[in-house]
């Protein structure tokens, strides 16, 4: 979140209430966030490094990693282009239905991932709207890679736009208008005025979108069909291993996603630190 004018106030004295509240907050973070995080790595290494690496080298794990990378490589750029276009349209222009459009962009956040998967089954599945046509042309969407990509796009749809809209709203259209008055074309205005102003927002939107795309479970699980070595992504592979009571292998694969999540939150934090120091 951007804070335009942080109010400066002296730190309150080191009283009882401050100690109690800070202590309570730290205990809460430790119990609710740190313990589960530590559990992933402890469980993953329960059978030692050899077993850990073996779980990651397994062919099914490899194909899951490749499929996850592929889905993210399509979903993230698609949502990036959409997010920048949507943010430009709703923050630099006024038109009828603008606030409704902003609400609709948020819609995938409040739809259950399972419902998201279901709607694609209803459109592309064997009994769906396009099912017959797809079968005639021997195309497969559901229980195949295109369905997984679509479900991933749906779930991560608002992330880049959500990051950029408040940022560009706060900046207002004045700088772009000045550029236009001085004779810049639309593209020049975007590349030289808008993009430098929003680059950190774009970057954070992309890494968050990427983390969510690689970690999506519910929506992808509905459309994937769980074919081992073909339509399993990393989170689905974790589920398969876990349900087969290969607990430490499941946690070993899960630790990859945990490292990704940790990298994501710390990059975000570093960006904020950098932004606060160089306004």
């Amino acid at each position: 979140m951007s804070s335009v004018s942080r109010q400066h106030r002296p730190a309150p004295p080191l009283g009882l209430s401050r100690l109690v509240l800070t202590g309570a907050a730290l205990v809460l973070v430790a119990l609710l966030l740190l313990l589960p995080l530590a559990a992933v790595f402890v469980e993953a290494l329960r059978k030692g490094w050899e077993a850990y690496l073996a779980a990651l080298r397994e062919p099914d794990a490899w194909s899951a990693i490749k499929l996850t990378l592929l889905a993210a490589a399509i979903a993230v750029p698609a949502n990036l282009i959409f997010g920048v276009c949507a943010a430009w349209a709703v923050t630099k222009h006024r038109f009828w239905g603008r606030s409704m459009l902003v609400s609709l962009i948020d819609l995938p956040f409040s739809v259950s991932p399972v419902v998201a998967g279901l709607v694609y089954v209803l459109v592309f599945g064997a009994h769906g709207w396009l099912g017959g046509w797809l079968q005639q042309h021997e195309l497969k969407v559901i229980f195949a890679v295109p369905g997984i990509v679509l479900a991933t796009i749906f779930v991560t749809f608002p992330l880049v736009a959500r990051e950029l809209i408040p940022l560009m709203q706060a900046q207002g259209p004045e700088e772009e208008q000045a550029a236009a008055i001085l004779g810049a074309s639309g593209w020049q205005t975007f590349w030289r005025v808008t993009l430098p102003n929003i680059r950190w927002g774009v970057f954070y939107g992309v890494i968050l979108c990427n983390a969510r795309a690689m970690g999506e479970f519910g929506a992808v699980s509905v459309v994937s069909g769980h074919i081992r070595g073909q339509t399993n992504t990393i989170p689905l592979h974790v589920e398969v291993l876990y349900n087969e009571y290969q607990s430490s292998a499941a946690f070993a694969v899960a630790s990859l996603l945990t490292l990704l999540a940790l990298a994501t939150v710390f990059i975000k934090s570093a960006l904020e630190w950098y932004r606060d120091r160089s306004p």
């Binding site: 559990a39 419902v115 259209p173």
Partner: protein, 289 residues
């Protein structure tokens, strides 16, 4: 600072209204096309499919005991978890904004973890911690408190998933709060508690409720983290999204659609509520800075 105000006056006077920026048709076109293809048309498929069911079929599918129990669990657990998160979120936001302590940046970064950690990973690791032989579970089980594989586990998973929503909604408002308001209250004789309850809290309320509604919306639809910890006993610890998945696996598309449409209506209602709340928040924060 806006550049326009620093431009030489004649440039601004030339056109009284600022020029319209280019690119509206292109960007709006891409936005609407992509939104329709990815989100709106597929959701319409669900709505239309629901209308092909007869009213009695729909009612029969939605009011079967197993479905009712799952809806009650999904909505009830999400309500409880969001309420808990309103308190914990307020506490965390308060401490993060008001009290300096070593390692604060790390804690602040960690609060975003539930946003970035895949739900399936959250599910299996919470289960590992809370199971009878887990780090926390081993202390709770002798006292007769079972968390993993019970509805209580569902609530704990949702508290984890919903933690950042209230913190991230309240934190910026608290940061922007004008310190003079509190100084005035203190000068007028309010103690620290009265100052918080009667001056600060009402100002935070719009943001707090917005975060609450977001955590609620996320909790109602949550699937990945819950199915590992819930045990998934029909009528006891089976959530509504899992019922949809179960019906799909039995090729009961009509039943799955009926349950999904109930959840979709809840999503729409909460989305409208969140939007109204955000408008309220913008108005009330506009008054106070």
């Amino acid at each position: 600072m806006s550049l326009a105000t620093t431009l030489p006056a004649p440039l601004l006077r030339a056109g009284k209204t600022p020029p319209a920026l280019p690119g509206l048709h292109l960007t709006l076109g891409i936005t609407l096309l992509y939104l329709s293809l990815v989100v709106l048309i597929p959701l319409c498929a669900l709505v239309l499919k629901t209308f092909t069911l007869s009213w009695s079929d729909f009612l029969a599918a939605v009011t079967s005991p197993r479905v009712l129990a799952s809806l009650r669990l999904s909505f009830g657990a999400a309500l409880i978890a969001a309420t808990v998160n309103a308190f914990t979120g307020l506490l965390l936001a308060w401490v993060m904004v008001r009290y300096p302590f070593p390692g604060k940046r790390v804690v602040d970064a960690m609060i975003d973890l539930p946003f970035a950690l895949p739900t399936a990973v959250a599910g299996i690791s919470l289960t590992a911690v809370l199971a009878g032989n887990g780090w926390i579970g081993q202390f709770l089980e002798p006292h007769g408190i079972k968390v993993a594989y019970t509805p209580l586990g569902v609530v704990v998973a949702l508290i984890f998933i919903g933690l950042p929503f209230v913190v991230r909604a309240v934190q910026p408002v608290l940061e922007q709060l004008n310190p003079e308001i509190e100084e005035a209250a203190t000068c007028l004789g309010a103690g620290p508690f009265a100052c918080f309850a009667r001056v600060v809290l009402p100002l935070l309320l719009p943001a707090l409720i917005t975060g609450y509604a977001m955590a609620l919306a996320r909790g109602i639809g949550e699937y990945g983290s819950i199915i590992f910890i819930a045990g998934n006993m029909p009528l006891v610890s089976e959530i509504a999204p899992l019922v949809i998945v179960g019906k799909l696996e039995q090729y009961d598309y009509a039943g799955a659609t009926a349950v999904a449409s109930v959840m979709l209506i809840a999503s729409f209602a909460l989305l409208l509520l969140i939007n109204a709340l955000q408008a309220w928040q913008r108005r009330s924060s506009g008054d106070l800075q």
